[in-house]
Symmetry: none
Subunit: 130 residues, 4 copies
DNA sequence: GTGGTCTAGACCACT
DNA sequence: GTGGTCTAGACCACT
């Protein structure tokens, strides 16, 4: 379910968050789904339980999941909505990035081609559930 | 010339690098220009000289500037070329970002509109020299 | 493992880099090996941690080692390849040196003898692993 | 007579020393020759007089030249001998360099070829006087 | 404990 | 004055 790159500069708990968000976006995880327990995921990935805990706590804070003491962690009903709203705020990142590429002399066609292909690749994937 | 956000998660020396690269891209800095000395910039920004030194050393290594001990630091002749080549390699970032936005359900038109406007805004600015 | 000459004109961090490269070339360090931590090496050599950090950071940049914050620093898989490629580029130094010796009237036989003996001594050492 | 690279990392006074030694080795300068005055060379090269002075002082110390107050600086009678002896001591550098190249896996033939060509190129030049 | 960043301040060679 | 190196020591995030 999760794959961790221990060598990455990105902290492990952020990798966990990103991957769980990806699973939500592509539909592999849905509202109400139960997540693996901190202990089991910790053993499965050979990772310190504190690191898993930190990722879950952050997702809880964002409203992506909620924890029921003694039961486990579950995906929130409005997880997808929360996530989409969050991503929409990242449109500013796209703007900044494109401006930089333009200033660096990258041709507009090169940029548009990449945008089109990337969008196509993702929207296809989003329609089916893995 | 530079503005530092001490609270940012991005290290100060990286902020300096990014901003100097921006100044190059928009044409405010050109080949041969002398940069503020480590000490003067350090005082102007209320930042430790070592931090300035770290930023300049990294830009030296990248071939963006060259330092002449006893004289100062100067923008390299091929700084713009080095920078453009570097930015071109970051097209993968654009791809990843667009894929995420697509998965989050952002409409294609919204993305294309932002890309077009951002490109237009930058290419205009790049044609004139401040 | 490392020996530092504080009086040398060569900066300490460069001495560290050279010595670590030597340990790689003679096979005392291999891909995957964990390096002493910044702090422990700093204490062992009575050198400031920042200086160790500077050496490690440069070796990281060159692809000789990789650092995992919270874990430690490790020799890269392709460290030897990176190093060999780097050394091959320094054949120009050999050319310059021999030209100077020739102009100084050093006999060709003297030079060839030294080259032969040095090559022999090293290739023997490189075949075994300490 | 001298060409200075202001951008080089090698200090200017060392560049001056190296070049004067080269002129001696190839025979362009000989015992008794008068060197340009500090002031004239300073103006010709657009360099601070102190820098020229530092180079001359060092060559004086080595016994390569001597200064006659009010007259100027002159090449010593035994300048060539001093220089050759000095260079002969650098044979150790050759040894170290070849060992490193051998350890890095550079083929022996590659090294010998470069040594032969370099020696040939220099000895030809040394026989005639420019 | 581990690497990464930063401050404060010193000293050096070179110009 | 200028860049480069180094020490001493602090704080941070991550594990």
């Amino acid at each position: 379910m999760f794959t961790i790159d221990a060598l990455s500069r990105q902290p492990i708990y952020e990798q966990l968050i990103s991957q769980l968000e990806q699973l939500l976006l592509i539909g592999s995880l849905k509202a109400g789904d139960r997540l693996p327990s901190v202990r089991s995921l910790s053993m499965q990935l050979s990772i310190n339980p504190n690191t898993i805990q930190k990722a879950y706590a952050e997702l809880d804070r964002r409203g992506i999941l909620y924890s029921v003491p003694g039961k486990g962690c579950f995906i929130s009903d409005n997880a997808s909505a929360v996530l989409s709203a969050h991503k929409r705020k990242e449109l500013g990142t796209l703007e900044t990035l494109v401006k930089e590429l333009a200033l660096a002399g990258i041709e507009k066609n090169t940029i548009l081609e990449i945008v089109n292909q990337a969008y196509l690749a993702s929207s296809k994937r989003g329609n089916r559930n893995d």
